[in-house]
């Protein structure tokens, strides 16, 4: 056998070995990518791998329960633990796609408070355990010189006369319709009551009509900071943590407008039939412990779901002068006019409003 042939075989063997190792990870964790996944890798994955000696493969996805459904129904579940939005967690749980989670296995707070009392109200569910509170806000690039006063209200986002230019919005009726109603003067406490009526829906779409030609639609969470940095839009709705990280980790001069913010939860769920269920449960308990949730908050400005973690929120990992607590959606200064996403409303009306939203987009 010539030297070259040997070498080729060795390389081929090595690559088989490497790909084999990647396939045989002990746990596959799926999340939303970008700065958010990075915060989880730093705060959850690395310490867990160090503690247990097991390996994690981190995958990105764009939300929704389609992949989970496909995996569970085909009997080939390759995802072990997934970060989902609340309405999706409830829906997937109702459809029997998720493993049930026994809340008594979650670790208590350092002072001994049981997990069921330590987690904030509404963050524990039959099949899901929340890790963060995140928020949809809108942001702009303050380094670009423009002839307008600082925007302060949700209504300013829809005001193309005083704030001309393109606007980025998430291509989904969820949050978009609520923003439109808030901008149209509906108090946050009544948004879902209004949106529950035909007139309310018409009112929201009528408000959106006023800026329709100026909207650039985005779909992935990493897009809005990019759109703003490129100057493609002057305003964009965005997830607050992404804007925060673009500003503080990448040096962009983005500002957020917190008025009319809509906050929601991200939760861990375990698809039914996960091949590494034990490891997934262990990871879930580990990552939602007081310490880890607090640690994540120093990587991205999303609020931890435990009361005991809120007290421990520190400073930004690369800049000790930034107190993370001030940048959370729930910080008093930011929380003045906030709306919680109503998962039940969206579970009921998502199909209908999506249909109408798509028809509106195409018209």
């Amino acid at each position: 056998m010539s030297k070259l042939t040997k070498k080729i075989i060795a390389i081929a063997g090595a690559s088989v070995f490497v790909s084999g190792a990647a396939m045989a990870a002990d746990l596959t964790v799926v999340s939303w990518g970008g700065a958010y996944t990075k915060s989880q890798v730093e705060a959850y994955h690395k310490p867990w791998m160090a503690k247990t000696g097991k390996s994690i493969v981190s995958e990105d996805y764009g939300g929704g329960i389609a992949e989970i459904k496909a995996q569970v129904e085909s009997g080939n579940v390759t995802w072990d633990i997934v970060d989902v939005e609340l309405s999706d967690a409830i829906r997937a749980c109702d459809e029997g796609l998720l493993e049930q989670i026994d809340h008594s296995t979650l670790p208590p707070a350092p002072d001994g408070t049981p997990a069921t009392e330590d987690f904030l109200p509404g963050t524990l569910h039959d099949c899901a355990v929340a890790n963060i509170v995140w928020s949809s806000v809108y942001a702009y690039d303050s380094s670009k010189t423009r002839n307008w006063n600082k925007p302060t209200k949700m209504a300013d986002f829809f005001n193309t006369k005083d704030f001309p230019g393109k606007r980025g919005m998430r291509k989904s009726p969820k949050v978009t319709l609520e923003f439109a109603l808030i901008a149209d003067g509906v108090p946050v406490s009544q948004v879902y009551d209004v949106l529950g009526t035909e007139e309310g829906i018409a009112r929201a779409f009528a408000k959106l009509d006023t800026i329709k030609d100026d909207i650039v639609w985005w779909e992935a969470g990493a897009q809005p900071p990019q759109l703003l940095a490129d100057g493609e839009v002057v305003f964009s709705t965005a997830w607050n943590g992404r804007v925060f990280n673009a500003k503080n980790a990448e040096g962009q001069s983005f500002e957020m407008v917190w008025d009319g913010q809509i906050y929601d939860l991200d939760l861990w769920v375990i698809p039914k039939g996960s091949k590494n269920k034990e490891a997934a449960l262990d990871f879930l308990a580990f990552s939602t412990a007081t310490e880890q949730l607090a640690a994540q908050a120093s990587w991205i400005s999303y609020g931890p779901a435990r009361a005991s973690s809120v007290a421990k929120i520190g400073t930004f990992h690369s800049d000790p002068s930034i107190k993370m607590a001030d940048h959370m959606p729930t910080a008093p200064a930011n929380f003045k006019n906030a709306l919680q996403n109503d998962f039940e409303f969206w579970a009921d009306n998502a199909d209908q409003l999506n249909e109408r939203f798509n028809a509106w987009l195409a018209s």
Partner: protein, 420 residues
Amino acid sequence: MADRQTVPPEPITAADGTPLKKKLAQALFRSRVRAASLVLPLFAFIMASFVIPIIALMWQGVYNDTFSSYTPNLTEQLKVWDGINDPDEVMYAALVADLKTASADRTIGRIATRVNQEFPGTRSLFTRTARKAKNLKPPFKDSVIKASKKWDNIEVWRAMKITSQDLTPGFYATALDGRYTVDQGFISQDENRQIYVKLFWRTMMISATVMGLCLLLGYPVAYLLATLPLRTSNLLMIMVLLPFWTSLLVRTTAWIAILQSQGVINDLMVYVGITADDARFSLIYNMTGTIIAMTHILLPFMILPLYSVMKTIPPSYMRAARSLGATPTTAFIKVYMPQTIPGIGAGGLLVFILAIGYYITPALVGGQDGQLISNMIAYHMQKSLNWSLAAALGGILLAGVLLLYWAYDRVVGIDNMKLG
């Protein structure tokens, strides 16, 4: 003479005594089996990976047993219910029994999702009542309505009656902007929710436009390829094939870089002074972007069949026409072009059929008015998880393509097509 004629002719036999005719048939049969067994793997592959999945998916468009399989008691009752009188105690009892099982088995979400497709806004009615189901006491009619007043609405029951029928035209009705109801049959959808018919038309229009543009741009290129000296035409051929071999995503993303409002073309136009800096053209994230990118991506599918046809046309025909007094234009129109029709047909059909199913490119550069019906199908497959509706939309698209193919065959003739 007469005698000899009535005697049947002695059959010619082979060496082993069997009639030659039989022997020949055997030999032919054997060779046919051999030929078939060579094709068999491909045939099995196409059946398993193409034909059967398509049939299965089409079937999903008219058949959905989600509701009936999880609510056996209620389905039984709904079958005999006329859909006009108020539902009675027996039906409510069946409802409670099924909700109890569904709640315990965690199948309530599937039932709720299915009914919610027919009657939006009822999802939480099912999930919430199911949670309370084990505590409900007879008489069930009163206790269920007490749990939620919405059960008193006969429309909820009508929606359940519709969903309890496994074989349903409902999804095809939805796919054509209609609705199928118990009491009124087919009715048309509310105007502000109509979308699919419009998208089917748009898909046809964009595909036809792309086909036309491809022909317009591809014809001269194919002509050059076929007529230039080999050295030059080879170089030209490489320029056609190189993008053809490049990934679809790369080409689409390249167009984003070129066409976006801060992109190459807009920068150039601002620099030259054609447009002002704050009034840049919107060339992407709209229908224009979709058409430009799709035309570029599908161009080789037009050029290659055209080229292969033009290559076979002897240049002497044109020379003959000219020497007989035709002007270059007449010679081209009367002599050259008719001979390229097989290529035009093949390229046009290929581009049109590929364009009709396009989905990644419109998704990336289409914005809101450049979305095609395939984007809607993908949406129902991936986001809303309404696979039956996706199947119905796909079925209509497939029927449309077959119809066009048939029309093409009638008008141009499918034998008159040359792919290479």
